[in-house]
Each structure stands twice: as C-alpha cells, then as structure tokens.
C-alpha cells in the first residue's frame, strides 16, 4: 500500500487534536507548554510528509522550510513559555494556571 498525502494529513490532524485536548485539560503550566508544543509540531509532520511524498505541497522544497520554521517557532515558544512559568512560579508559588488570576492581577 502506498502512502499518500492524505495519510500524512490524517496523522497531522490526529496530533493536532491530541495537542488541543492537552491544552484544554492540563492545568499545570508545564503540561500546558508541552501540549502547546505538540499543537505546533502537527504542521511539521504535514509539511515534511507532503514534501517527502511528492516534492512539496506549496512549491519545490518550500514545505521543508515551513517545517523548519515551525520547529524554530515551537522551540521559541517553549523557551519563552518556560521563562514565564518560572516567573509566575516565583510570584505565585504555584504551577496551577487557575491560581494566576485574571489580567487585572486579581487572585481567584
């Protein structure tokens, strides 16, 4: 059985769904970061897979560049997110995102 772009898109969609599930269900900031990273890595699978199967979906080789961009963005988000988590942990002594309160700084 040959692998087509549809297979890759199905896998990418499933990974995106798992990441979305994690973003909604995880309460701790660290788990939320991991879920966000999974969400961001789903397009990497799609772009790299499309490029591997038939030379690229958005032009010759461009899929690889977009996949690399997604990986860099994912790493940047994780780094800045981890720094924010460390800052919030120092201020609030908690990793529970519900404990961080609203935008006005009021604790729930």
């Amino acid at each position: 059985m040959n692998i087509g772009p549809g297979h890759v898109a199905l896998l990418s969609g499933a990974v995106f769904a798992i990441g979305a599930f994690g973003v909604l269900t995880r309460r701790d900031a660290f788990g939320l970061l991991v879920s966000l990273a999974i969400l961001l890595l789903a397009p990497v699978i799609a772009f790299a897979g499309f490029t591997a199967i038939d030379g690229g979906s958005v032009g010759p080789g461009q899929g690889e560049v977009v996949a690399l961009a997604a990986v860099v963005v994912c790493a940047a988000v994780a780094l800045v997110g981890a720094a924010l988590v460390a800052l919030l942990h120092r201020r609030h002594e908690s990793l529970d995102t519900d404990a961080y309160g609203d935008a006005e700084g009021e604790q729930r």
Binding site: G6, T25, L41, G49, L68, A76, L95
Partner: protein, 198 residues
C-alpha cells in the same frame, strides 16, 4: 516514503503525544516531551529529511534541556496538579472537533487538493531559495533565547530576598524545634517528679 516506516513512525508519534498529554508529573512530562521530539525525528528520518531531522532534534532537545533546568531549579515536581475530570469533557469535545474538521476534510477531498513539485534538499532550498527566511529563523531563535533569559532570570534583589526568606524559615524552624525540646523536657521532669512522689 515506505508504508511500514510511515505506520511505525505514525504510531510512535501518536503514542508519545498521548503520553505527553495524559501522564502527570513534571519529570514524566519532560521525558514524554523528549519522546515526542524523538518520535517526530523518526518520522522525519523515514520521510528522508535528514537535515531537518538533525535540526529538529538538536533544537527541540536543547530547548527541553533548558526547560528541565528551569524546572529543576524551581522545584516544580510536587506542585503539578492532578487532572480535574470536568475538563475532560471540553478537551475531548475540542479534540473530536479537530479530528472531524482536519481529518474529515482530508478524507472528503480524496487527495484532490495536492499537486506535485520537484524534490530539493533543505540545505539547497535554504541557501538558494530562502536565505532571508533562514536568516530570520536564526534571528528568531536568538531573540527567543534573549527574551527567555530576560524574563526568567533572577535579579540580584530577588535572589537576596529569597536568601533572606530561606534564612528566616531556617531560624523559625530552629526556634520551633527548641521550643518543642523544652516542652518535652518539662513533661519528662514533671513525669519524673510524679513518679518519685509516689
């Protein structure tokens, strides 16, 4: 891409992602996040994207190491909360919606949305076709490191404050232990006197 390689890599990716989302604990999350990075690396390897695999593994594992270092210093482990069951409903709802919208669209289109192109290596594309993009990605990565260090660093006054708080906690603990020892000694003396009187 071989069918066997795709299915093995696909199953590994799905399992590692599910484990990262479902398992609790800071250490477990870090290990499963590393598993996600490695499994996606295996998928890219199966796809024949060798340079992308190398960049992906190096970038993600280095980032994870930095995040774990921050976690280790913060001592987050015991503070990670268990999963509240009420959130499963919303999470499952969104996950099902994502699967229906994304995978449903793929299944409905039957591959009609895909067009062929010419295969080129990532190195060649970055060098000849997307040098500006490559430069921007390097700048973005460097900026992220700088911003993360600026946000997450402990300033001198903050470190001093933490040191004072730690010293105060130690002092209070020592005083509490001394108080408890005094109370225990008094009780022993009273018990001894009561025993001698009889």
């Amino acid at each position: 891409m071989s069918a066997a390689g795709f299915y093995v890599a696909g199953v590994l990716v799905i399992l590692s992602c599910a484990a990262a989302v479902l398992l609790r604990g800071a250490v477990t999350s870090a290990v499963t996040a590393a598993a996600v990075a490695v499994s996606i690396g295996i998928f890219l390897l199966v796809s024949g994207e060798y340079l992308l695999t190398l960049l992906e593994l190096v970038l993600l594992l280095a980032t994870l190491a930095a995040v774990v270092e921050v976690t280790r210093r913060g001592g987050f482990g015991p503070r990670v909360q268990p999963l509240p069951l009420s959130r499963w409903v919303y999470g499952l709802g969104l996950a099902v919606l994502a699967v229906v919208v994304l995978d449903g669209a793929v299944l409905a289109s039957r591959g009609g949305w895909f067009r062929s192109g010419i295969k080129q290596g990532l190195g060649s594309v970055l060098h000849h076709q997307a040098p500006v993009t490559a430069g921007l990605l390097v700048v973005l990565g460097a900026a992220a490191v700088v911003v993360a260090v600026v946000i997450g660093r402990t300033s001198a006054d903050e470190a001093e404050h933490h040191e004072r708080a730690r010293a105060r906690r130690e002092r209070e603990e020592k005083m509490r232990r001394r108080r408890e020892d005094r109370v225990a000694a008094r009780r022993r003396r009273q018990a001894g006197r009561a025993g001698g009187g009889e």
